[in-house]
Point group: C2
DNA sequence: ACAGAAATTGACGGGACGTCATTTTTGTGG
DNA sequence: CCACAAAAATGACGTCCCGTCAATTTCTGT
């Protein structure tokens, strides 16, 4: 008898495996925040866990791969938010604005818990991880839908998606540099600019 | 007498100094292109010169500093182009378009001589070097001038400058990914988007 | 020509890297 | 309950890179 009680579909093997992976990711997040991506080392990360150096390489091939896993995490959390914004939007303008708001909120949140310095914290590494691509696809899909729906003229969806992402990426830090950061204001600026260009961007004061 | 001939305001000391610095930069550019920024090492760089390892540190404190010097170079070459675009422009639209064209040309050029892979080559490192800031300032100044001149409504010049830069940064690689890259088309897209938003962006086909 | 300043050199101690033979842990069949 | 094989963790090891620094070479002014 002994353990008829709980259904344990998951053996100890699997359990420690996810636990270790998680431990590495948690430690990595902290180490990257403290030392910055560049100067952080694989050893720094494993020292932040109970594991031995060799064990690290059972889970990741390099520091960069750990970072990508973290970036993936972020993108994975952000994507459903983006999708909900699309589904709930009453108009294209509405979608755009909520998407920007969601992103800027996300950025502000990530930044707040990572420590103060706005720029220095952002790891300087390639971020074209699969999940990031998925976010791009999500945005692009929204744009193509809007075009097909007649909400947008027939413009280059690829370029437009990149432009939106570029605006978001640059406006995010610019917003954070102001105190206090005004998410709605930044989102209004981006939305207005994309919809109507300079005439659509909110006047200052 | 001996050397009354040429006026040599520059001693041998100074000369080898600039030569060494240049040698390091040239080697670094090649090494970064070949190995990628991440995996390149200071040793790889000096091996590409006639210098000893210790000498490197007389010129730069780290690999990152070398990269920043290279980025500075790029920005330093780009800035006058940008300024000329501003001075020669007949209208704000004209300025915007030529600025984008200049940037996309620059990107295409840098990319062509660095080897083919579009994304992998771009070093993943902070690029907020002083000269980069200067480019941002240059853009922002243009925008503020245009606002003061009445060519633009009173909008947030800081945000707008960041938005332009974000668009340029994302559209550049997106353009390069197409074959053949169409600089004028990308510039037209960016200009139209900024000026009039979606309605201003060129229709596709 | 010479002395002192400036720059170069490469060896060195400290560490990080990624691997791998060994040990420990876990799952399974008798 | 045990034994045995597969899986995973361990940490020592050889290799390489880092940044420094005392010794040496190269330059400059007098």
């Amino acid at each position: 008898m002994s353990e008829t009680a709980s259904i344990e579909p998951i053996g100890k093997r699997e359990k420690t495996k996810v636990a270790n992976r998680q431990a590495i990711l948690v430690a990595a997040r902290r180490v990257f925040a403290e030392l910055g991506y560049e100067s952080a080392t694989v050893r720094d990360i494993i020292r932040g866990t109970e594991l031995a150096s060799g064990t690290f390489y059972n889970y990741f091939r390099s520091k960069e791969e750990v970072f990508e896993a973290l970036a993936d995490d972020g993108a994975r959390r952000f994507r459903p938010i983006l999708r909900m914004a699309r589904e709930h939007a009453k108009s294209f303008e509405d979608y755009l604005r909520s998407a920007f708001i969601a992103y800027f909120r996300f950025v502000a949140e990530e930044n707040r818990e990572a420590g103060l310095p706005v720029d220095e914290r952002r790891p300087h590494v390639r971020t074209d991880t699969p999940e990031m691509m998925a976010v791009y696809q999500e945005v692009r899909q929204s744009l193509e839908d809007a075009i097909a729906h007649g909400d947008l003229p027939h413009i280059d969806a690829d370029y437009l998606a990149h432009a939106c992402i570029g605006i978001a990426q640059e406006l995010g830090p610019a917003m954070l540099r102001r105190s206090p950061p005004d998410i709605d204001n930044a989102a209004a600026f981006a939305t207005g600019l994309i919809l109507k260009g300079l005439e659509g961007a909110p006047r200052k004061n």
